[in-house]
């Protein structure tokens, strides 16, 4: 049994005018335990929508999502099963690094000592012990994202959802964090669903890449990446996959260009 089973999932946004917008159209996807999945596609193709539907923050219009064989809507203690790493970190500016990481745990009935133990463990994992008493504004962008990752890890959920967590970072920091994420994912043996619109990133990270298509949001292809990690971005295998996906997306890009989103 797969961890996630998405079947015929559609999602309609109700817009103000009374009209509706089909953001996800007949999505079918299974994710197995421990897998690293990347959702890739042009802006507006519904990547975030799909992710937040998995996070139960959006309700499907039709279709079903099973989590551990159970209907997603019925999963109890949802926050112990699924955690999220947001784009632009979503840290609480008035809390220190340590407090940010511990914040989700404060609503669980845990002893203080347990909470400290957990946060220390994951702060070590993302190499932030030295910065634990700093406020987010004192951190660089990359460090903020590491706090966000540590926070999600500290929730010790099976599934971690990530919405373009590295989108706002510069190229160097970004590739560094990608490396780190892969090693953490291996260490902690989590299941990750990762949204990106960067082709290189998707190929570098994913076990399988879910290429999506806009208008309506559909799955265009699911591409397995078989090469061993750490992956060499200049290898021929990498190149080929990159060019294949580029070609796939090209048509979309032109479409987007012609319409010129306003």
């Amino acid at each position: 049994m797969d961890l996630i089973e998405i079947k015929d999932l559609s999602l309609n946004y109700q817009t103000d005018g009374g009209a509706s917008f089909l953001a996800l159209d007949q999505i079918n996807l299974n994710v197995s335990q421990g897998e690293f999945i990347c959702l890739l596609g042009p802006s507006g193709c519904g990547k975030s929508t799909l992710l937040y539907t998995l996070a139960r923050q959006l309700k499907p219009s039709s279709g079903s999502i099973k989590f551990n064989g159970e209907n997603l809507a019925n999963v109890r203690d949802f926050a112990r099963n699924v955690s999220i790493v947001f784009q632009e970190h979503a840290l609480f500016p008035w809390l220190t690094v340590k407090e940010n990481i511990e914040f989700p745990l404060t609503s669980r009935s845990l002893l203080k000592a347990q909470i400290h133990h957990t946060s220390d463990y994951y702060m070590k994992m993302v190499e932030l012990e030295e910065w634990k008493d700093k406020k987010p504004r004192q951190l660089s962008g990359g460090m903020k994202q590491r706090v966000g990752i540590a926070r999600a890890l500290a929730m010790e959920t099976n599934l971690i959802l990530m919405d373009e967590p590295f989108g706002a970072l510069d190229a160097q920091t970004r590739s560094m964090l990608q490396e780190e994420l892969v090693s953490i994912w291996k260490k902690a043996s989590k299941t990750i669903v990762f949204v990106t619109h960067d082709i290189t990133e998707a190929i570098y990270l994913a076990d399988r890449i879910v290429v999506m298509d806009a208008n309506p949001g559909r799955i265009k292809a699911v591409l397995p990446v078989s090469s061993k990690r750490p992956r060499d971005t200049s290898s021929d295998e990498f190149r080929m996959l990159e060019n294949q996906i580029k070609a796939m997306l090209k048509k979309d890009t032109n479409l987007v260009d012609k319409e010129e989103k306003i």
């Binding site: 949802f78 699924v82 999220i84 979503a90 609480f92 500016p93 914040f103 989700p104």
Partner: protein, 259 residues
């Protein structure tokens, strides 16, 4: 050596900060003196020297301090009360869209009415004691806190709310542990503005019935044609108001940084 220099620097810079303030006072005094000379009507606009003399008399007799303290006590009380009323209501209105939609017009309808107009009702409902005056000041100081609290809560970065939800937090926990701290800088700004409004309402409030306070002093000075007392009261209000605002701005800045 380096330390010494930085100390000199620091002293120098804090002196630099006070200079505009001193220049401002000098500027006002000069304009005032010229105004007094042009008006040439000592019964209505005495010059700075006359007012300074009255001020010294009032300092010596203790009245200046007494009136200032009396007014400040009323204002602080009303301001704290406003905060206790407005922050909870503001938080609730900011969180529950329907409630905001319903109550916002009520606020906007009542807000334009000057505290002055409320005096008769203040006397009727709260009497002429402290509570009547406090009510008049509350009318002036409630809305800035309320409106800033609502906008602060509504303006909380939605991603923080999403994060809170994803932690499995209850609505109450999201409100108190996320919305409230996130809105705090805006609320503090509201508190500062509100203090200013309260301070401006003191003359109206002390029309309710009083025996002390700067507003009383000014009202009384007007009645017995003692413009020196009136202007002294205005100067005290200006300076004390300025100082409080400066302190609040400092707090606001600190708050802003810590976020």
């Amino acid at each position: 050596m380096k330390k010494d220099l930085s100390l000199v620097n620091k002293t120098f810079r804090s002196i630099q900060k006070i200079i505009p303030f001193i220049l401002a006072i000098a500027f006002i005094f000069i304009v005032w003196q010229i105004g007094a000379m042009i008006s040439n009507n000592a019964t209505l606009l005495p010059g700075p020297t006359v007012v300074m003399k009255t001020f010294l008399e009032f300092i010596v007799s203790g009245e200046a301090i007494e009136h200032t303290v009396a007014s400040l006590l009323r204002i602080v009380l009303a301001w704290v009360l406003s905060a206790f009323i407005a922050i909870p209501i503001g938080v609730i209105m900011g969180r529950i869209a329907l409630l905001e939609k319903l109550l916002h017009p009520v606020i906007e309808l009542i807000r334009p009415i000057s505290p002055l107009a409320w005096i008769p009702l203040a006397v009727l409902w709260f009497g002429i004691g402290l509570s009547g005056k406090v009510f008049v000041i509350v009318i002036a100081s409630l809305f800035p806190i309320l409106l800033n609290t609502i906008s602060g809560i509504k303006g909380v970065n939605p991603i923080l709310l999403k994060a809170g939800q994803s932690f499995g937090f209850s609505q109450l926990r999201i409100t108190t542990r996320i919305c409230l701290p996130a809105a705090m800088p805006t609320i503090v700004t509201g508190l500062r503005i509100s203090f200013g409004s309260a301070w401006m309402a003191i003359i109206a409030a002390e029309m309710v019935a009083s025996r002390s306070g700067l507003g009383y002093m000014i009202n009384d000075g007007m009645e017995i044609l003692r413009p020196d007392i009136v202007i002294m009261g205005m100067v005290i209000i200006g300076v004390v108001g300025f100082l409080f605002d400066a302190v609040f701005r400092h707090i606001e800045k600190l708050m802003g940084y810590s976020l």
